[in-house]
């Protein structure tokens, strides 16, 4: 446990001592801030129009009109940014040779992988935590429902955890950070859009594709419900890829 926390500490310090974490977080906040602004402005416009016409279209509330689209957009931004955060985790150690040093220390692969994973997850949590400012502003000025906001953020955290686990895995496969990043991006995008094929494959496979899709499982979270099956999906995905990472580290040594 203390070894996991030693690696966790080292990785976290790396993120925040180098500019990596700051650049990723700043860019994330600028883009998500712009999304919040435009979504909110649009909602504002709709409210004004409905006030003038006296006709309120469905979904004209803060959750459906602002929070859900915002969280949906954030999930796309993290899809783009998290691979950049995770690509160096193991690939860099392999490139620089410090992986050899780490492998000859009495540290289990599980401790090493979980330390690295948790560090990246922490950076992501900080990143996500900063965006709480937007719903915070809503809460300050109006009275939206709070439950969907809370569950939405839990969903995003779980989704991000599975992206980070994927990133850790792909980073363990290669000593090339670009390859690790691109592979992570490809894999997470694939999990995101796989549900789009559902209408064309017949009812049986449609259900399967939808179940695999990352977005499908986010629905319930953004509606204010935590479905066990949906939470399990993200947790399973996370542990599955972490397990693959541990296996991949073992095999790296056996193969060479």
């Amino acid at each position: 446990m203390s070894k996991t926390s030693a690696i966790y500490g080292r990785e976290l310090r790396y993120f925040f001592q180098s500019v990596t974490a700051y650049v990723v977080i700043s860019i994330f906040l600028v883009i998500s801030g712009y999304f919040f602004f435009s979504i909110f402005r649009y909602y504002n416009l709709l409210s004004l129009q409905s006030m003038q016409s006296g006709f309120a279209p469905g979904g004209l509330n803060l959750i459906d009109g602002v929070v859900r689209p915002l969280l949906g957009n954030i999930s796309i931004i993290i899809l783009l940014l998290l691979p950049l955060l995770t690509m160096r985790l193991i690939a860099e150690e392999k490139k620089q040779g410090t992986f050899e040093l780490l492998s000859t220390y009495p540290v289990s692969d599980i401790a090493a992988v979980s330390g690295k994973f948790l560090a990246a997850l922490t950076v992501y949590a900080v990143m996500l935590g900063c965006t709480l400012l937007y719903p915070g502003m809503l809460l300050f000025f109006t009275e939206p429902e709070t439950v969907p906001i809370v569950t939405g953020y839990i969903g995003l955290l779980l989704m991000g955890a599975s992206f980070i686990a994927m990133g850790t895995f792909f980073s363990s496969l290669t000593d090339n950070q670009i390859i690790a990043g691109v592979a992570t991006f490809g894999a997470s995008l694939f999990f995101l859009i796989i549900g789009w094929g559902a209408p064309f494959v017949g009812p049986k496979f449609a259900a399967v594709l939808a179940q695999i899709s990352i977005l499908y499982h986010f629905e319930s979270f953004s509606k204010g419900v935590i479905e066990t099956s949906d939470a399990t999906y993200y947790i399973f995905l996370t542990f599955f890829f972490l397990l693959l990472t541990v296996r991949s580290l073992e095999s790296t040594r056996w193969k060479s």
Binding site: K3, R13, T104, P106
Partner: protein, 316 residues
């Protein structure tokens, strides 16, 4: 005690280490010697549990490198060949990380870090970033991380490579100092280094063991044949000289040529060490009317021994 049992490693079809077997006693400083690509690094990587052997195994203080990898890793300190370090960290936090990862207890942490900092002479650079240090200091940091948990076995892969002569002397004396209270295995292709620091030398070539002995014994072993060099004026007489020398009992011409700037030629003669052939050589050469300039016998240096062991192996 370290016992290496029939250790082999294949990289694809290349056999990097071939049935290597030797033992190292506790407290011994063992030199691992061989030309580049002989399998030194591969062997060390197997002993440190980084690479699994293709066949065979090794026991380190009774623990098998395959079955009890964690126990082995707890007891070793390792400096890999190109000394990989977390260059973005400063020296003290890196050593702290290494100590934590090697399982140094929390209350002993500060003491052991201060200890290695002092022992490796890192006092003036503890707060500096490793990436900005000179190669000599980086090498010390590499050794410091290896000994931070006070390991019973220290494995150093080419610890002095790429250093300037002054740094080499420093690192060597550090290794000698470290060897006083623990077992050390160090690899090198520099002979004087090994003969200065080590109690025993293992010479390997093409992944196979060529010789194991103390530096002095190795020298003795090959001293049985001694070398005599004969310098004659003018290279025109070489052929005649060779014929004359070959006629002497126990003498064998192993090299001719090497004409000096003055046009003289050098003939290297090998003979068994129990008979001094110098007087016979002088008499015969003068009888044959060859303009003899000088005769001197030469002791085999470790370099010669090394080259000969390695080439003999190649010819065999």
């Amino acid at each position: 005690m370290i016992r290496v049992l029939e250790l082999s490693k294949n990289y694809g079809i290349t056999r990097a280490v071939d049935n290597l077997a030797f033992t190292v006693e506790r407290g011994e400083v063992l030199g691992f010697l061989g030309p580049n690509g002989a399998g030194k690094t591969t062997t060390m990587k197997m002993l440190t549990c980084y690479l699994p052997p293709s066949s065979g195994t090794a026991e380190i203080f009774g623990f098998d490198i395959l079955k009890d990898s964690m126990e082995v890793r707890r007891r070793i300190g390792y400096l890999p060949e190109n000394n990989p370090l977390y260059t973005d960290m400063d020296v003290s936090s890196f050593l702290e990380l290494a100590a934590q990862l090697k399982g140094v207890k929390k209350d002993a942490l500060k003491n052991s870090i201060d200890g290695v900092v002092e022992r490796c002479g890192l006092g003036e650079v503890v707060r500096r970033k490793i990436g900005n240090l000179s190669k000599g200091f980086q090498q010390r940091v590499g050794i410091a991380q290896a000994i931070v948990n006070d390991p019973e076995l220290l494995i150093l892969d080419e610890p002095t490579i790429g250093l300037d002569p002054r740094q080499i002397i420093d690192i060597r004396s550090l290794i000698r100092d470290l060897g006083k209270d623990r077992t050390v295995i160090l690899s090198s292709h520099i002979l004087p280094e090994v003969s200065q620091v080590c109690d025993r030398i293992i010479i390997i070539n093409n992944g196979r063991l060529v010789a194991v002995d103390s530096p002095d014994n190795l020298r003795d072993r090959l001293k049985r044949s001694s070398m005599t060099r004969v310098r004659i004026a003018g290279s025109g007489d070489i052929a005649v000289a060779e014929r004359v020398i070959s006629a002497i009992e126990g003498a064998r011409v192993i090299r001719t040529g090497e004409t000096g700037g003055d046009g003289s030629a050098l003939v290297t003669v090998e003979s068994s060490s129990d008979s001094d052939i110098r007087s016979a050589l002088a008499r015969k050469l003068i009888e044959a009317d060859i303009p003899l300039l000088e005769i001197y016998s030469e002791e085999l240096s470790l370099e010669d021994i090394f080259i000969r062991l390695v080439t003999e192996e190649g010819e065999a």
